[in-house]
């Protein structure tokens, strides 16, 4: 019997970031992925004994509450993600240099490391995000369980990611830059049955 469709991965070079476009089922978009540019990202770790002072300074100077667990906290253009005990990822879509902002605010209270280029950020939206992620993740991403504001540092198709749910239908994930092509290949393949829209630049 003749093939009447071909799988998108069969024609994409494996060592290239898949180009923007629509993949899979033609008349549906179960998942839309958008690459987020211009995010400034830093890791934040308190110096010994400085957690309380940092919590207070973050509240006062930046009006941000440090999440005590694996959660996302949003304040304007800034987001804080808990990634480990005493470790946070800070992101900003306005600050050109969130690491610098934090350093200025916290001084010697914390170790701050610029990671703006370490990650590729993807926004995922659509009714089939959870189903698609379930093909690579090993945690419960059921929308009834993984609620907006929840975050997880975990694996997706054996690739490390940090994932959080921003709103009811919007998810954001960070993946190490070198894995961008591999991760997008997984998304193209896994979301193809629902229709996958990849927008390269957002």
């Amino acid at each position: 019997m003749a093939e009447h469709w071909s799988h998108p991965l069969d024609t994409l070079p494996f060592d290239t970031v898949p180009p923007a476009g629509h993949y899979g089922v033609a008349d549906m978009t179960g998942v839309a992925a958008r690459r987020i540019e211009g995010l400034s990202i830093a890791t934040l770790a308190p110096a010994r004994g400085a957690e309380a002072a940092i919590t207070e300074t973050m509240r006062q100077a930046l009006a941000m509450e440090l999440p005590g667990a694996s959660r996302a906290v949003f304040a304007g253009a800034r987001t804080l993600i808990g990634t480990a005990p005493g470790r946070w990822l800070a992101l900003s879509s306005l600050d050109r240099d969130i690491a610098g902002t934090l350093r200025a605010a916290l001084g010697p209270l914390a170790a701050i490391t610029d990671q703006s280029d370490a990650f590729i950020a993807l926004d995922l939206a659509g009714p089939k995000v959870a189903d698609t992620l379930a093909k690579g993740a090993l945690i419960d991403l059921d929308p009834r369980v993984f609620l907006p504001g929840m975050a997880a540092t975990t694996v997706l198709a054996h690739i490390g990611i940090t994932l959080w749910r921003r709103e009811e239908a919007t998810w954001r994930l960070l993946v190490a830059r070198s894995f961008e092509a591999a991760l997008l290949r997984f998304l193209v393949s896994s979301a193809a049955e629902y229709g996958f829209e990849l927008d390269a630049r957002g």
Partner: protein, 102 residues
């Protein structure tokens, strides 16, 4: 197997890498019999059939060393705590360093 990471919650064992027995403490390198003690520390392991305290590193999560109590016969996990908390609870705040005669 699922491991209840104290920070991340229950996670698949695939996210962790395994080290082994969590009970040996690094010996005092200044002790007169340091070489014998280190030999035991590096190589000698009990292999209990049953409850076992072991180190797991949550490589694909919070990158914390987690002390997990696992039954080696059933793989049932009775509990898990972060390395720091485990050490505090054991009253052994630190590994041995030179001049530390504990």
């Amino acid at each position: 197997m699922r491991i209840p990471c104290p920070y991340c919650g229950e996670r698949d064992a695939h996210e962790f890498s395994y080290l082994g027995d969590a009970t040996p403490a690094r010996p005092d390198p200044a002790a007169p019999d340091a070489q014998d003690r280190f030999f035991d520390y590096v190589y000698l392991r009990d292999n209990p059939a049953g409850a076992h305290q072991e180190w797991w590193y949550h490589a694909y999560g919070c990158r914390q060393w987690v002390q997990v109590e696992r039954n080696t016969l059933t793989h049932a996990v009775a509990g898990a705590r972060l390395a720091r908390d485990a050490r505090d609870a054991a009253g052994d705040a630190a590994g041995n360093v030179p001049g530390d005669a504990s």
